[in-house]
């Protein structure tokens, strides 16, 4: 509605969605653009499904309306499907191929879709699927998967890669700058020509 570029980042509590949101915010400051965001705090973070709304160029409320998001970045395969209705018709997806099944599946013996079924369902949208967990380990730390995902999505976002990289350097812990820069670049390579 307002001409903002709306990104939904989803995952499981503890996967680093909040740091990812902060990096996008910092990149917007670098480019002198407005930004609005909303995220999950408190008890919902305990291993639950979490979402971070980011509206680049946003000047009104922080929430993205279902059916309106330009981009979905998901740190988990199942969560990508859970939030896929937030995307607009031609909205894009950058998804970690790693799947963590909810504990409820084992405890209550619930039926869960298979990885192949999920991927097939996601393909309704332009999809960039990557094994962020393995690539992050290669980059030097499994904890850099969130930054790696941003790298993979950087070709689709209306922010310069230099701004994103500068934001990464400013926000990650000092000791991990090198690993995270490597992770960001690995993500950019994995994203490849995804535009």
């Amino acid at each position: 509605m307002s001409g903002s570029f709306d990104i939904l980042i989803v995952g499981i509590g503890g996967q680093g969605t909040i740091l990812a949101s902060n990096i996008l915010g910092e990149a917007c400051l670098i480019e002198n653009r407005h930004i609005r965001g909303a995220e999950t705090h408190g008890m919902a973070q305990r291993g639950g499904s979490v979402e971070s709304h980011i509206r680049i160029g946003g000047e009104f409320g922080p929430l993205i309306t279902p059916g309106e998001a330009d981009l979905l970045i998901s740190f988990d395969l199942l969560e990508a499907l859970r939030y896929s209705h937030f995307l607009k018709k031609d909205g894009k997806m950058v998804v970690n191929s790693h799947l963590v099944l909810p504990t409820s599946v084992f405890v209550q013996n619930l039926k869960a879709p298979s990885e192949a079924e999920i991927v097939a369902a996601l393909k309704k949208h332009p999809l960039c699927l990557l094994d962020a967990d393995s690539l992050a380990v290669e980059a030097g730390s499994p904890l850099s998967a969130n930054v790696l995902m941003l790298g993979a999505a950087s070709g689709v976002m209306p922010l310069k890669p230099e701004s994103l990289l500068e934001a990464v350097k400013r926000l990650v812990p000092k000791k991990t700058v090198e690993i995270n820069v490597k992770a960001f670049e690995a993500g950019r390579n994995a994203g490849g020509t995804f535009r």
Binding site: M1, L29, R46, L63, T103, K111
Partner: protein, 589 residues
Amino acid sequence: MERRYLLGNEAIAHACVESGVDFISGYPGTPSSEVIDTLRGQPDRSYYVEWSVNEKVALENALAAAWCGVRALCTMKHVGLNVAADPLMTSAYTGVTGGLVIMSADDPFAHSSQNEQDTRCYAHFARVPCLDPSSVQDAHDMILEAFPLSEEFGLPVIFRPTTRICHSKGDVDLGPAVPGGRKGEFHKDPRQYVVIPAHTRILHKKLNEKQPAIRKRLVEKGFNRYDIRGKTAIIASGIGASYVLELLPDDVSFMKIGAYPIDEEWLGDFVKKHEKVLVIEELAPEVEETVRQVAGTVPVYGKKNGYAPYEGELSPATVAAIMEKAGFLKKKPFAPAVPVQDLPMRPPILCAGCLHRGMFYAMKKVFKDAIYPSDIGCYTLGLQLGTVDTCICMGASITVASGMAHSGETRDIVCTIGDSTFLHTGIQGLMNAVYNGADMTVVILDNRITAMTGHQPNPNTGTTACGVEIPAVSLDAICRACGVNFVETVDPFDITGTVNVLQEAKKRKGVKVVIARQMCVITARRAGVKRGRYAVNVETCTGCGTCVRFGCPAIEFTDEKARINDLCSGCSVCVQLCPVGAIGREGKK
């Protein structure tokens, strides 16, 4: 001026520093906690900051500081204001000399709360000004005005952000920090500070006399403002105002309400310039009721005639739907979007290695047909394990247990309460239960921290809000001082030992207390505690599912065998549960 991308609560904290705040107190509660967490974490603090044991204690401390002439901030969540309501109501009579801002954060949709009450009703009830921000920048700017406003009228000012302000983010323009830490001085004046009947009657009259000037001032300050653009109008408050502005047609007038009480004369003039008005606000119809009082024959659309919901939170889509239904939008701006159906839910869950899970398991093993009153904390998630039968408000596990025990209910009653909640409002209930001879077991889930709200220290932690080491209170000694004879501390990772103590408690009459003590697994990890992981020996595992039913997120079940994933933090409880000894240290057979 500096621009930063901040969480609403961080922007609020920064504005307090820009206001030269001197004294800060509060009790953690989502979505309010990060304000004090930000302030206590600043390296060069010139102000005093504490986590208090509950909201009543916090407010009375802050009120006293404001009586001594310094600027004070007191933070809590909406339901915390119920606990602090007693000092709140009379603080409006005594007034303040230094600015006192009471931040009470509302939680529409009850994202992390037991109800959806509206703090604005408390401000109305107490007759104190209330500020209601519509964005992160607005929240920041309002705090800058809140302290002088409090000082101008000599009244506490309530600041009421909601979850979508506290936990939303935006680019915020910030001003420079102003050092606080002025020295307070109390000027004795019994007619002001001793509310005996003769004094309080006069103070009540003075409070009422302040009201017309407050209403005018809030308009002059620009908190309440309007823009006339057409024959119809929307009046909105809080985050709802931001949603409306994104959708507002060019020919519809707009009024933003950011502060209460609303000047009725000013409001009436605006309403009467229009053919119809729509009111958009979250929770109680606080604005709408005032609009209806002054609207005369102008039709008003809102909650009271079914156009807007009383419950839940607003969103751009719900606001669009209300505007369309009331005839303020010609067509729906958003196409319906349907989520994928029948996906397995992923609700929040107790962490792998959480002490509560082991304790709940032992409780169920010993007290098979019992009633389990519980309380507010991470452990309310024990609902998923069948060990939470009631939860109403802070401290109510022990009181609900004693009430049931005296009601004639014959089953065993075993209640659970966390250490922070016990210190908040649990002790009185325990004293009462012992005093009146209840027959029940109290389990104090002692993880040494206020975990759910983000790991704030409490008197049981051994450090203050600012990290100064202090002697931790003794939960054991408190229980004994309340008159409990059976007080035992157990390690909930030791299932056999815990079961033995619970069996002993089951045999005895009266109030028994079992303290289940282990560090919160998150603080333990941060403190560098390493226990080593466990693994399932696939050849020994019979696939019986005993460990899976324990509900630990580190245990998965595929191809008829259990498997332990990398979330394992080494609590070893599953090792004790496995009937065939298939679980052992990772890397060993």
